[in-house]
């Protein structure tokens, strides 16, 4: 299968096989009108199978949420057809409306149009807690 190389944009590599669509949704890529390629179950020496997302987009996309949903992926920033930056996403300090607070006693369960905001409280163990009730974030 051939997918054209991108000139300027981002390639998210080493996505756990089967998780590409989830990342696509979390990053809000459905709202972009640029060419996007989603490659599922590609062969990988390191992971046996992996997913890849290629985004052909001039402007930098907000990728902070990747650190929460897929911290092990590799992000390649492409300019003029060359990789100019390669990194693993860092854990974001705050995630907004990515996960919902599951505590039925939390104010988010009743208050209208209240964003579900979680703050990083334990970097080592990747723990995020609801800013309102301090419940742990669960996917």
């Amino acid at each position: 299968m051939t997918v054209d190389e991108i000139k300027t944009g981002v390639v998210i590599d080493h996505i756990e096989a089967g998780k590409a669509m989830e990342i696509y949704r979390f990053l809000g890529l459905d709202k972009l009108d640029c060419p996007i390629a989603i490659i599922k179950n590609a062969l990988s020496k390191r992971m046996a199978r992996k997913d890849i997302i290629k985004i052909d987009h001039d402007e930098m996309i907000d990728l902070r949420v990747l650190g929460y949903i897929a911290p092990n992926v590799t992000v390649n920033v492409i300019e003029n057809g060359k990789i100019v930056k390669k990194f693993h996403p860092e854990l974001p300090e705050e995630i907004v409306d990515i996960v919902k607070c599951k505590n039925p006693r939390c104010i988010t369960s009743t208050e209208q149009e209240l964003s579900h905001i979680f703050k990083l409280t334990d970097k080592e163990n990747h723990v995020y807690r609801c800013i309102y009730c301090e419940s742990k974030a669960k996917n």
Binding site: N103, R105, C106, I107, T108, S109, T110, E111, Q112, L114, T121, D122, N125, V127, C130, I131, Y132, C133, E134, K136
Partner: protein, 306 residues
Amino acid sequence: MRHLIGIEDFSNEEIDSLIATAEDIIADPKKYSEVCHGKKLATLFYEPSTRTRLSFEAAMMELGGGVLGFSEAQSSSAAKGESVADTAKVISCFADIMVMRHFKEGAPMVASLNSTIPVINAGDGGHNHPTQTLADLLTIKREKGRLDNMVIGLCGDLKFGRTVHSLISAMSRYTGIKFILISPDELKIPSYIKDEVLDKKGIPYEETASLDEAMPKLDVLYMTRVQRERFFNEQDYIRLKDSYILTPEKLVNAKKSLSILHPLPRVNEISVGVDKDPRACYFKQVLNGKYIRMALIKFLLEEAGK
């Protein structure tokens, strides 16, 4: 705008300063009798509360201020479906400071994000109750003369007790503190308190099911109620309930300098016979609660005026 939503909103220095103000109020209440003249405290109690609401109202009155508010959700605009955010915006037009008790965890924080006046959390479900913690700290300070270097026993329901979690968090800031956590297996302290507070800060603690064994080591004993509804079966409750009822006999091996605290209301976990013991501090704790709330209202209003 400063608010008090959780005890961690205040630094050690600010807590020490509130305690100092409260002690000064106790020493000379007249000096403070007009400091909130012309100011209004709104009490927004979506859940019934006797002591906390009256304590806040008495505190504001003794500072020379006025009080308005409601004491149950049914008599508020919440019954018509108004959001907490909107209520906070509306109350900001009428009062200078607001106190909120709500059955939903995080409701006072939502209010603080939408308010133009200081918000005090007076209890949000099973989550936070920071002014109770301030009352506990003032009581310990007045009884012991210090807030460091002591062994604190927390007894009873350590799993669901919000006052216990806040007190651990607050006392963990001081040096030389050791906790003895006394509870049945079913009601042990949640692991996140151990992981994220005690272990993270290197605070020593012991867990035991025996109040008798812990008793001689304690400088402070903080009692809470073991509630029947927390148990999966009746036999376990019956087996355990009496072990956590404090009686004069259980105090035989306790230190003479022990201070016994309880956030109240008490049901039967401290027998009435203990009330006469000079080590019983739980009614002084109620009075201290009023004084620390006076100090808090004064502090937040001053901050808002800056």
